[in-house]
């Protein structure tokens, strides 16, 4: 092993990357060559010196300054993003359209709906729908925009949309009595009917 040519080996020796044979060769050489020995020691000293260099700290407001900058350049979205609310928004639009539609489609005069077998036997008079005394209606009766005066008998439900049910003495409703007034009740009424329709499908 000759001096001047073995810098590479010396560095491999320093990094402990030589095999047993290589290490022994370098050690033998170092034992007899003072220049190379000093060279190795010098490098070791330099390594120690560099690794002991002072450890510094950033200024105290470093993190707060950074976070302020991030806040400015990437403002957090405080408004609700559309994507998250697409489905509720769509539902709201459909419901609104539904309510407006039924509202508009409701005729302003008194109308008798429903699956009664004797729809003819009710009397429509101005803003009132009268079920005369001694008359029995079989089936459900739905009335819009009218006051329902029940003198006779209804074997079923009576529903008054945008109206009222007035029971006269002797009048009788065997089923449910329901008055639907105002937008919220309309929605509830139609939702219930829709739900019942679905239930009945199965």
């Amino acid at each position: 092993m000759a001096c001047g040519e073995n810098d590479h080996d010396l560095h491999l020796f320093l990094d402990e990357e030589l095999d047993e044979t290589g290490r022994n060769q370098v050690r033998e050489h170092l034992a007899e060559c003072v220049d190379c020995r000093n060279h190795v020691r010098h490098i070791r000293t330099v390594e120690t010196a560099v690794s002991r260099a002072d450890w510094l700290e950033v200024s105290e407001d470093f993190t707060s300054r950074l976070m302020i900058r991030l806040e400015k350049d990437f403002p957090r979205r405080r408004l609700l993003s559309w994507r998250k609310y697409t489905i509720p928004a769509a539902v709201a639009v459909v419901l609104l359209g539904f309510v407006a539609g039924t509202w508009l489609s409701v005729p302003s005069q008194a109308v008798v709906l429903g699956k009664t077998t004797q729809a003819d036997s009710v009397v429509i008079k101005g803003g009132e729908v009268v079920i005369p005394r001694n008359t029995t209606i079989k089936g459900h009766l739905t009335v819009e925009n009218a006051i329902v005066r029940v003198y006779g008998r209804v074997n079923g439900d009576v529903t008054a949309l945008n109206g009222k049910i007035l029971m006269a003495s002797g009048g009788d409703i065997t089923g449910k009595k329901q008055e639907v007034n105002g937008a919220l009740q309309w929605i509830a009424y139609y939702a219930k009917r829709f739900w019942n329709a679905i239930v009945h499908l199965f």
Partner: protein, 193 residues
Amino acid sequence: MVALESTIILRAKQGDRQAFSELVELYKDKLFNAAYRMVGNRAEAEDIVQETFFRAYKNLSHYDASRKFSTWVYRIATNLSIDSLRKRRGELSFDAEKDSGAMDEGSDLYGIVPSSELGPEDVMLHNEASEEIQRAIERLPLLYRAVVVLKYMHDMPLGEIAQILNVPVSTVKTRLHRAREALRKHLSLRSIF
């Protein structure tokens, strides 16, 4: 510690800014020291580390969590430091061999390396020595500097240094050997041994 860090990283990736600030706390001083040793100026080093975290935040969604976070941020900081030095290159010479006269005569490693038993006057010498070392590092060619800083001041394995600098491990070794020789020349030992 590693598990904890990966949890913080995951939360930060999900947009948790508090988690990101915890990552900043973990790495700010490490990156600052690395940048400072490379550029040799506190204010500039702090700007570099600010920019590093800014970019890290901006690109957090692209960070591959299966790789080491430290490698990723060190890489950003090292690249920014090297860019910053390259911009200055026109003004100053970074060739280690060109202006080696002045320091060789003035420096003495007895002062630079404190012995294991430090007296009060040795501490003084140590502070001065620290500046000498900094100047010696600043005289290293650009590409050697990062290797020396990461290897000796940050105790990094050569494999990770290779990943940070995006070069093969063999290149890191070559640079390290040359950097050591250059430092040896700049930090001369007079009358030792």
